[in-house]
């Protein structure tokens, strides 16, 4: 078998990406349709000297990866809707304490236990605002296995670069489908390693005192330096503070470090977009149907293109505005009641020309579902 070509599920592509990025600690609680991620890692991590723990629930899993990350490990957990809900408080803790971690949410139908074995994209807004309080977050997604791999590597890199939780918003269709994955050679993709402090042992280390470039070097907890970590607003020592200046500065820092880097974080793909009159904005498995339709209609001479978003948070508002500026109409193709639609409407000059092509019955939206709406918009009948 050729070494680097694999035929795998999307969930396995995520596992391969995580290992490529340097994952060495996973804690999780299995849940459909994300279980294959835990299953594979339970075998793979011990083989490379990493740690896999099946925890008692999703809350504990999230807390375990936060702790492990603080000691210097690259960490992730994986879950789906109900588990993602349980993890929210601890995700907020990781935002506040600026601890790098990756959370994969392979989306299924919700709310509640919903539709476990079927596809949905209903957690887009939960990824953004699931935890309480003002904060910023990064969420990435992908429509095919090569991109699942790449976005997983990017997620680990961004978690380290910005010292933040990063959400991978995959979905059941991509997670369970099998297709080709070519695993890149070592060195082919950039890997961002932990930025560790240069402060010597027994010399005062300020965990929350930024360097000149704004980054916060870390010290492996329990190793060379003693410091405090808290979910309360805190000073440069990591000790609790309600000093208005400190509170104000920390909250602005937490939001700005991500929102000011939208361009660097933005990931997207264009398909037949150059002269498109009708633009389909999509992501994840629904983008596969959008691309299928666009290529099909192109062959028949219609000017249709797809803007495939791979980073959903921070939302690439400027990108959407620019790419959709000349479109006669924009269709947002997604499997929810219009979560990205709202963002697209807010981004473009003419929100009245933005339409929703959705499906919420647990079935993958089909190219003909999209085509039907497109024909109505084009004034070509039902």
């Amino acid at each position: 078998m050729p070494k680097n070509i694999r035929f795998v599920q999307g969930n396995e592509a995520c596992v391969e990406g995580a290992l490529y990025a340097g994952l060495d600690f996973y804690a999780g609680y299995p849940i459909t349709p994300s279980t294959e991620i835990a299953e594979q890692l339970s075998q793979r991590l011990p083989e490379i000297g990493g740690k896999f723990i099946q925890m008692e629930d999703e809350i504990a899993s999230m807390c375990a990866i936060i702790g492990a990350s603080l000691t210097g490990k690259k960490v992730m957990t994986a879950t789906s809707g109900p588990g993602f809900s349980l993890k929210q408080e601890a995700i907020g803790y990781a935002c506040m304490t600026e601890i790098p971690c990756v959370i994969a949410n392979v989306q299924r139908g919700g709310p509640s236990t919903g539709n476990p074995t079927h596809v949905s994209q209903g957690d887009i807004n939960q990824a953004r605002w699931g935890t309480h309080g003002d904060h910023a977050i990064i969420a990435l997604t992908a429509s095919n296995h090569q991109d699942v791999f790449k976005m997983t590597v990017d997620a680990f890199n961004m978690a380290e670069t910005y010292r933040t939780p990063v959400i991978l918003l995959f979905d059941e269709a991509v997670g369970h489908m099998r297709e080709k994955l070519i695993i890149p050679e070592k060195g082919e993709l950039e890997i961002v390693d932990r930025l560790r402090t240069a402060v010597a042992k027994d010399v005062d280390y300020h965990p929350y005192l930024p360097r000149e470039d704004g980054r916060l070097p870390m010290s492996d907890f329990g190793a060379e330096h003693r410091y405090n970590v808290t979910g309360l607003f805190h000073d440069m020592w990591g000790f609790p503070s309600n000093n208005p200046k400190i509170v104000n500065e920390l909250l602005r820092h937490l939001v700005d470090k991500i929102e000011n880097n939208v361009q660097a974080i933005t990931r997207y793909k264009e398909h037949c977009l150059e002269d498109a009159e009708y633009i389909l904005v999509s992501y994840g498995s629904s983008a596969r149907s959008a691309i299928h339709l666009a290529q099909n209609r192109r062959n028949k001479g219609e000017k249709i293109g797809v803007l495939e978003l791979q980073s959903l948070w921070p939302f690439p508002t400027e990108l959407v505005k620019e790419k959709c500026s000349d479109a006669k109409a924009v269709l947002v193709v997604e499997m929810n009641m219009g979560q990205v639609l709202t963002q697209v409407k807010a981004a473009v000059k003419s929100p009245d020309r933005v339409f929703l092509a959705n499906r919420i019955d647990g079935q993958l939206i089909t190219p003909s579902n999209i085509k039907q709406l497109l024909r109505v918009i084009q004034g070509r009948g039902v």
């Binding site: 074995t117 269709a173 080709k180």
Partner: protein, 182 residues
């Protein structure tokens, strides 16, 4: 090759329908350098219940992974046949097993009924390799992939001690299918 092959394998849980689907798609990707997708709809049952897997094989990019009109449809139970026979693409190939399926003549397709289960039981005596015999029959019938590619993919997935038995089942299928090659 025909630029795009769309297949649906259907039957009952436990017959190895999904495994067969994975093997053929894997053979296409890894041993013939093609693109393939394999997907399935499933509920919570481990055994029993209707099973369906969609496979697309192409030398081009594959986006939408579901099959609405298969060129090749395999039905291994009566229920699967009754449910899916109508979706076959006109002129396609519909492969069924004689023991499990009574066919009607309502569809515009080449219907091939083969005694795959009976042959496996007679020559090998183990129903577990039935699905591999079906794969052999499909390759013998259609030649969509080289037999060697599929057999190598079988070898990748099957425990070593069972390989001879699986190869034999594949060969039996190959011979059965080849009689009806067009």
């Amino acid at each position: 090759m025909n630029s795009r092959i769309r297949m649906v394998f259907s039957g009952s849980g436990g017959q190895g329908v999904i495994t067969a689907a994975i093997i053929i798609a894997e053979a296409a990707v890894i041993y013939e350098g093609l693109n393939a997708t394999q997907s399935q709809s499933y509920g919570a049952a481990a055994r029993g219940g209707a099973t369906r897997s969609d496979i697309i094989i192409s030398d081009k990019e594959i986006n939408f992974p579901e099959v609405t009109q298969p060129n090749i449809l395999v039905c291994l139970t009566q229920e699967a046949y009754n449910t899916y026979s109508s979706i076959i693409r006109p002129g396609g190939i519909l492969l069924t097993d004689k023991r499990y399926v009574q066919t009607t003549r309502k569809v515009d397709a080449k219907q091939i009924e083969l005694p795959m289960y009976e042959t496996v039981m007679e020559k090998i005596g183990k129903p577990v390799v039935f699905n591999i015999c079906v794969l052999g029959a499909l390759i013998g019938l259609t030649e969509i992939l080289q037999a060697q590619s599929v057999m190598t993919a079988v070898a990748d997935r099957v425990p070593k001690d069972f390989l001879t038995m699986n190869n034999r089942a594949f060969d039996l299928g190959l011979v059965l299918g080849a009689q009806f090659r067009r």
